[in-house]
């Protein structure tokens, strides 16, 4: 009885599943933000401007030029803050203050989950008049946030729980960002996309420095990063693989890219969240398992990592599109997924840390503008004249 020879798995055999494993949480995040936005803002909500934003939007009668000016100023201020904080992060990482960064990450997750999450739950309770009592509410909120902090902080926790909490943190922060005035949101998105491009690809960019530091030291950056579950290369030999925590694979592998971090300043409290804007994939080691000794093999199976900042900004784009109409939501969703697919393909080609924001955000903004200006009129006219749709 001859054993069937296993062909070496090609890139194509697993790329579908890998892509799905990263698109599913991104879509879930966007869906939740769209739901929250459409449920909680059916009434005309006045956007009270947050602290670091210059705003003329809420005043009636301000001209387009004023709004544009304020939007640009706000977004430049934001990007400048993020750049400063990222350089600070690089400095801290250079001086090996890793434990401080981890505690800070845990603290900011707690703030996001408890305070932002609590606020959003209170909005929902108000809206639907759910007669929950305060004791139960505080116990549930306390449980939710403490376990969330443990999921983010502890290195070994159920993968499902960690992934769900990361998606939830993304949803909560993205919902709060959709409360910014409209022009500011769009200017901010474009500015962050350009910043991401510069920070990762330029030689002096803070994120590139961070990646190179982490690679040279062979450490992981403490950051909020969503890591997709690795796809089994060989399902049969899966049991023999014991993933060693943090140990890089030996020898002759292609370079291993690690995620990078970026601090995102939340508006209300001046609390920064350490998030990573990049996609990177650890190595896919196809042939290592054959050299295993006594059936125990050491290796790291490939896993795509997407920074939480990307989740947040994608969801902000889709959430802001939802504030206009659902047609723009569909268009922007497709644009973002297409952009994410393109970025993943580029990742497969270049095998280094890449910025995940620019392609998706720029495509998303383009599609939003086109839909709002051109497509909507077309669809509405066709529907009202009973021609199509």
């Amino acid at each position: 009885m001859a054993e069937t020879l296993e062909e070496p798995p090609t890139l194509l055999s697993t790329i579908g599943e890998e892509i799905i494993r990263i698109i599913a949480p991104v879509s879930a995040c966007m869906l939740l933000v769209v739901l929250l936005v459409s449920v909680l803002s059916s009434s005309s909500s006045s956007d009270a401007p947050p602290t670091i934003v210059f705003s003329a939007d809420s005043e009636t009668g301000s001209s387009t030029w004023d709004k544009l000016k304020d939007a640009l100023l706000s977004s430049i201020a934001f990007v400048a803050t993020v750049t400063l904080l990222t350089f600070l992060l690089v400095l801290l990482f250079y001086f090996r203050c890793t434990s401080f960064l981890k505690y800070y990450m845990a603290f900011s997750s707690f703030i996001v989950l408890a305070i932002l999450g609590g606020e959003i739950t209170l909005f929902l309770i108000d809206k639907f008049s759910i007669p929950v009592d305060s004791v139960t509410f505080f116990i549930l909120l306390f449980n939710f946030s403490v376990v969330g902090v443990m999921a983010v902080f502890l290195s070994r926790m159920a993968i499902v729980i960690t992934q769900s909490y990361l998606v939830l943190i993304g949803v909560l922060v993205a919902y709060w960002f959709t409360m910014l005035p409209e022009w500011t949101t769009w200017a901010l998105l474009i500015a962050m996309a350009l910043y991401d491009l510069a920070a990762v690809l330029l030689p002096g960019g803070p994120l590139r420095l961070l990646v190179e530091l982490a690679m040279s030291r062979d450490e992981e950056i403490p950051a909020l990063v969503y890591e997709a579950r690795p796809v089994d290369q060989h399902t049969a030999s899966n049991r023999r693989i014991w993933r060693s925590s943090g140990v890089s694979s030996n020898g002759d592998l292609v370079q291993e890219s690690l995620p990078e971090t970026r601090l995102v300043v939340a508006e209300e409290a001046v609390v920064s969240e350490v998030t990573a804007p990049l996609i990177s994939s650890a190595n896919v080691d196809h042939h290592r398992q054959e050299n295993s000794v006594d059936g125990i093999g050491l290796g790291e199976s490939g896993a795509i990592k997407l920074g939480l900042g990307d989740f947040i900004f994608y969801s902000v784009l889709v959430g802001r599109a939802a504030l206009y109409d659902f047609m723009t939501v569909y268009a922007c969703y497709l644009a973002i997924i297409a952009g994410l697919g393109i970025t993943l393909l580029l990742l497969a080609f270049y095998r280094r840390a890449l910025p995940a924001l620019p392609v998706s955000i720029l495509l998303g903004v383009l599609f939003y503008v086109l839909t709002r200006v051109l497509l909507e009129m077309f669809v509405v006219q066709c529907s009202t004249n009973l021609l199509m749709f």
Binding site: A48, G118, E119, L122, F123, I125, D126, S129, I130, P131, V132, D133, S134, V135, T136, F137, I139, F142, N143, F144, V146, V147, M150, R156, M157, A158, I159, V160, I161, M179, R229, P230, N238, R239, I241, W242, R243, E268
Partner: protein
């Protein structure tokens, strides 16, 4: 010879009938999760922290070590650390169930009983009034 084969067949059928695989990996993540030795410390830590009014942590403990909960104690190989693991997971499950039952009794009584049952205290305890009083929802 034949009788031994019969015994082996019976054992195999017995195990297959129960549909339980000996838990080589105690966590629900399989090879990506903890090894049996590390799990005991983790389960113990989760169990103890759960007493700080954290039933959800007990539930996470049960979810994480689900294969251990499902398998029967006789399935474990002798002297494996999994025999020490299982009591913690079991107690977490019991604790979670008890706490959930108590909390739901209180919450449902509050919701369904409402004002006729509690009187004016209901208005003081219900969340949207507490939020308004503490000014939690006004400042976005």
């Amino acid at each position: 010879m034949e009788r031994r084969e019969q015994e082996e067949d019976e054992e195999r059928r017995h195990l297959r009938g129960r549909g339980i695989v000996l838990p080589a990996w105690p966590t629900v993540d399989g090879p990506l999760g903890l090894s049996p030795e590390e799990s005991v410390a983790y389960a113990r830590r989760f169990f103890r922290w759960g007493f700080a009014l954290l039933p959800w942590l007990w539930a996470v403990n049960c979810i994480y070590f689900w294969p251990v909960l499902r398998a029967r104690p006789s399935d474990f190989p002798a002297f494996s650390p999994l025999t020490h693991l299982r009591p913690y997971v079991l107690r977490s499950a019991i604790g979670f169930t008890v706490f959930t039952v108590l909390l739901s009794i209180w919450a449902l009584t509050f919701m369904i009983g409402g004002k006729p049952l509690f009187g004016s205290v209901w208005d003081d305890l219900v969340m949207y009034n507490v939020a308004d009083k503490l000014g939690l929802t006004g400042w976005y």
